[in-house]
Symmetry: C2
Subunit: 375 residues, 2 copies
């Protein structure tokens, strides 16, 4: 086989699909790209056995070919070159040769028939496949705002992903690790069927890297989801476990309401975390009308910190504790807003956090469990 390609175009293609290469994939063969050259179109596929990310480009070629080659080595080799025309060849000695004006690389390749099967899943409007389109920008924002609350614990698989829930309101993105929860409703979308699927954290992480302003076509059935852009597509295995019934966790009647500037709160929380060396990173809030006293004590080192912050508060005076890292995560994902509201009821009940004024098309709500102040 032989084809001609611009080095920077090939670099762009390989860089686009590289995010699906996962050093912790179960099979070593997934360290490779699958090259598929058909009728002048080069398609490169990267996979970890749960994700299949592929992209194509036109090249100058008369031959058809399939082969696999070390992803990391090939990408680094192509990246190291200035812009030039490459002639890429394979020969009988299992050498993959990259030629340019003043030099050449010879890399080893394997036959494509050793590569595991790739699911064919991009069929529109068939009976068991759901389909919708969404703005790439809005999808990326929805994912970036919710994915941080995904659980790292493998023993409850459904919580290691984000729930995509489709209803007449729109599309909900929900993540939780049992200590906190994020629920984002995206309204600007038309969906035919109600449905619930769980998309793995690894999937949203890869997806976030390939999305841009362009519209995305999304297909899913009960096993796979596919995200299709004009130049790249991602197919991913869904998490096959039911997501927890999150609606029952969100309290209906938290009467007390504390409004605060998220940037100021974020900076104070960051300073509190500096002093707290313990695993729990317990931060204490002492809430009275008009003022919030935030403090932390580290019993190991004897260090402590205390700051006050102007708030507007309607409710009973209260002392409440939070895990500082979790609180920090939540507030840091809301700093684009002028003001956020904490809805509280008691220092043992879940607290709801949301912006005072929501953005158009988005409705976001976060929930954090308090921690006990003594003990």
């Amino acid at each position: 086989m032989e084809f001609k390609v611009n080095s920077k175009e090939l670099e762009k293609l390989l860089t686009r699909v590289f995010p699906a290469i996962n050093p912790r994939a179960t099979q070593q063969i997934y360290e490779n790209f699958l090259f598929d050259l058909q009728d002048g179109v080069l398609t490169v596929l990267a996979s970890d056995g749960d994700h299949w990310l592929k992209a194509s480009t036109r090249v100058v070629s008369d031959t058809n070919y399939k082969g696999i080659i070390s992803a990391k080595l090939l990408l680094e080799a192509i990246k190291s070159l200035e812009e030039t025309t490459l002639i890429i060849k394979t020969d009988d000695k299992k050498k993959f040769t990259i030629n340019w004006e003043t030099g050449e690389f010879h890399l080893s390749f394997q036959n494509a028939n050793e590569y595991p099967d790739v699911p064919e899943f991009e069929i529109k409007n068939t009976e068991n496949v759901n389909y919708f389109t969404i703005s790439g920008k809005d999808l990326k924002e929805s994912i970036d705002k919710t994915a941080f609350a995904i659980s790292k614990e493998e023993y409850r698989p459904s919580m290691t992903g984000t729930l995509f829930e489709f209803s007449e309101d729109g599309m909900r993105f929900v993540s939780t690790d049992a200590h906190r929860l994020v629920e984002l409703l995206y309204k600007n979308i038309k969906i035919e069927n109600e449905a619930q699927i769980v998309v793995a954290g690894n999937t949203t992480s890869i997806l976030s890297k390939i999305l841009d302003e362009r519209e995305v076509k999304v297909y899913f059935n009960s096993t796979y989801i596919a995200f299709v852009l004009s130049d790249i597509s991602l197919v991913a295995r869904l998490i096959m476990e039911k997501f927890p019934d999150y609606k029952n966790i969100i309290p209906k009647e938290n009467e007390f309401s504390l409004s605060v500037n998220p940037k100021s709160l974020s900076q104070i929380t960051k300073r509190m975390l500096l002093v707290s060396s313990a695993k729990m990173k317990k931060i204490k809030w002492d809430i009275t009308n008009e003022q919030l006293d935030i403090s932390v004590e580290d019993t190991d080192t004897g260090s402590s910190a205390k700051e006050n912050l102007a708030i507007s508060y309607k409710g009973d005076a209260m002392e409440i504790g939070f895990n500082g890292s979790f609180l920090s995560d939540i507030v840091n994902h809301l700093t684009e807003f002028e003001e956020i509201v904490f809805k509280l009821m008691s220092n043992t009940k879940p607290v709801i956090v949301s912006p005072t004024t929501q953005k158009e098309n988005f409705e976001i709500r976060m929930l954090i469990m308090p921690v006990r102040l003594n003990g």
Copy 2:
């Protein structure tokens, strides 16, 4: 004790001396800053037992005080604050309190009498102390150009430092790890006595971080060296072992001369290193008149690469091997020059590398040992 200081001024002071804090210092007490407040001047000292880096600033205070406090925690705490006025206090309960308008930190501190003795060494023009001044910029350049060749092997202590050699030519900086050597002569300097001292790699690394355009006063005897700037000073223990007799290693009569553009050579060498997974990273040069063929073969993976480069060469055709990482280090430290010259004699003798045209005041020469091509 109590003093008042601007938070950003204190941050600047702490950031300046922090480079001497070394997490691998032998005594845990060196994780702390030593605070010394005398007559309205706050001096902060950081040390690892071999280096003493200190800086001062004026503060508003009536009291004198000495105490030690966790360097990392204090620096992070001060860095996390916006610009504001701080009131810093200590109390009988061993609390170091930092107060500002809306909050406070309480950190633990220890008594200064637990802190090991600090060498007093900054005496000018006494009998056993040598003294000179040098441009901070030139000193930094001299260090940055030579320190990379310092040996990482602890069993020959003198080679873990840079030789400072003073003679009527000027001041020479020499580093070597037995595989390569850098010799830099700095001419724009007046020195009274001939002398040789060895300055540890850790010392030049700290020094490089505090130098700027300003002139530096340098004092040394047989045990210590001190670098004094207007706002900061570094005292360091010298390495007490004799530096190898490097002059005997540098060949006198390497007749063959190969001139090349260092940027092009650097890029090719980088690409060769990508393919070479072996520890030795052996690169082969095939030199003929007007062309250099550079190649690498990786027997483990079966990968290889080959490139050619235009050169101007006077000498016999030759094949010679280099450790690619060492070659890369050398060439990367000469890329500011238009052209560099490799002086060779045979593929078993040291090769000398230098710029075709030296810079004013500097004369730099590097030496690299070839590696055997077979076996």
